[in-house]
Symmetry: C2
Subunit: 329 residues, 2 copies
């Protein structure tokens, strides 16, 4: 049965324990679908050992625990990153991306052996997130939307022409669900793939913010070059080839305008954040009611509840938006 809606429960487990037994209990109910979004992002570079324990050993613990259960081979959706090095010539830029690439290899290999039915989807940087806990090198990109819309200043450390591939939490969640529903046959060619995204330049974001929320909001983005961030992000791939994912039915956001409008509607309004007055005037919600933007299938149907008893699918590392954004760099 395809996943179109599910209930999210919360359970705190250290996946980086000594061997697969530390995660065994997650699979008592034999969930059909597992979304593994783990986990440490920029911290993996600072705390090197912890990064490997959580991101690599933790993932392997999950896979080994599944492998140990006879006759059990669930769909395992792993949220990787478009910055994970996949070409000989691309040296990894940080520990997080290296660990994502290692985990992808584990997912592919365990799938080839028939231990799990895995797929690794390489998510772009997620923008339109409700909070500022995500600290990776790309965090300035989400902050350029989030902060001005809350009336705060955001720093842009790179030139205005810099483009970066992004996705909204909705598009990412929709694609995670889509990944869960693909048949094994559809994954015969590869179980690792770049997700489609849109790649606006910084000036596109400023323009869209100005059009939707007003010039005074757009002006809250301040230019302040940071050569170290620029060095890191300018080495990232500019043209993400998502042909394979597109052929399998994964979908990107429609535009930066759509991402900003959804952020205003879904995140700010629900959280009762105060919107700059000007934003209200633009009738963002009316625009949305006319459904000019297509939503990935299934996303609107999600029910996120805090009741473990209703648990249908195991979401070991959380499926809240914070974790989702943390899964991609």
């Amino acid at each position: 049965m395809p996943v179109t809606s599910f209930v999210v429960g919360k359970r705190k487990i250290d996946i980086a324990g000594d061997g697969p037994s530390c995660v065994e209990e997650l699979f008592y109910g034999r969930p059909e679908f597992i979304f593994h979004l783990a986990s440490l992002s920029e911290e993996a570079d600072f705390d090197f050992d912890r990064g490997y324990r959580v991101n690599v050993d933790g993932t392997k613990n999950m896979l080994d625990a599944i492998r140990a259960i006879p006759g059990y081979c669930p769909r395992f959706v792993f949220a990787s990153s478009i910055a994970a090095p996949s070409q000989c010539s691309a040296a990894p830029q940080d520990s997080y991306d290296t660990q994502k690439a290692i985990a992808e290899l584990l997912v592919s290999e365990y799938s080839r052996k028939g231990y799990v039915d895995g797929i690794s989807i390489r998510l772009p940087t997620i923008v339109g997130c409700p909070d500022a806990t995500y600290k990776a090198a790309t965090s300035f990109f989400p902050s350029m939307i989030r902060e001005p819309l809350s009336g705060h200043e955001a720093i842009c450390p790179v030139p205005l022409f810099f483009r970066h591939t992004i996705a909204s939490p909705k598009a990412a969640a929709g694609n995670l669900l889509h990944a869960a529903n693909l048949t094994s046959q559809q994954l015969a060619m590869s179980r690792t793939m770049n997700m489609p995204g849109i790649a606006p330049a910084v000036h596109d974001i400023i323009e869209a913010l100005g059009n939707i929320a007003g010039k005074s909001v757009a002006k809250l983005i301040r230019q302040e070059r940071d050569i170290s961030i620029w060095r890191t992000v300018s080495s990232w791939p500019q043209n993400i080839d998502a042909t394979y994912a597109l052929s399998l039915g994964f979908v990107p956001d429609t535009s930066i305008d759509a991402i900003i409008k959804y952020y205003i509607k879904d995140e700010l309004k629900q959280k009762k954040h105060s919107l700059p007055t000007e934003v209200e005037k633009m009738h963002v919600e009316d625009d949305l009611k006319q459904k000019k933007c297509s939503l990935p299938t299934g996303v609107e149907k999600r029910h996120v509840e805090d009741d473990l008893k209703q648990k249908t699918y195991s979401i070991p590392t959380g499926f809240g938006k914070r974790q989702l954004s943390g899964a991609a760099a």
Copy 2:
């Protein structure tokens, strides 16, 4: 000081113990150069857990033991495989190649962090090996040279047009030494690279054997298709791009003829194997004295001795030809 000759000692150590302390003693002498050829090949697919313990955890133990020594950052030459998956679209074909790819990522990442000065060279299938202990899917390729020259039949499980990228043990050893001598500056673009090789078809090998050792020797290669081997090897990359390695001065063998002649001279004669009479008549050694084939620099100067007291460089997993051939698939 560049490595041009060194002494090989033997010490038996389980690199797959619990944590880096199991390999600490290898680094007491602070070797400047480490050649890591580990380790399990086809067995990694049959004994899945052991494969990961030796090939992945073992490599990480080595790197972590080095990292734990303050101010120590030796050149770490890792023998990888041209079959290691490096493209998104290339799914790993066996556990060995997956584990090679994971180890490559570790070597690159530890190097980026400054913990080790690593380089991963992806070796082609090694042919012209003295014994038959190597059991990987490509073993028929070396056996088509080795067995007929010892008067035994060899099975060719694939069509005559099948091409495969190969290297002699001499070329591989020369390139391992070359890898040890490159500066860190030269590795700035990438620390993982395909080694150059030559890619004869099966019919080229049969023809070369016939020309050098006589038709009766070449006829010892018997066609017997094996669809399972064919499936595995036909999915392997046919055109190995070694541009980067060539630009850094790595060198392939000159021809299949040269590989066969060296095998007859260096391996069979030294081992006092009996050569089919016809081979003697072809004056193979006279050909070689005229030096029509160039040897990779430094290879002829190698001294391989069994005295650990003279140990100059740490060769943790052995540097005998058996291990060398085992390092590439």
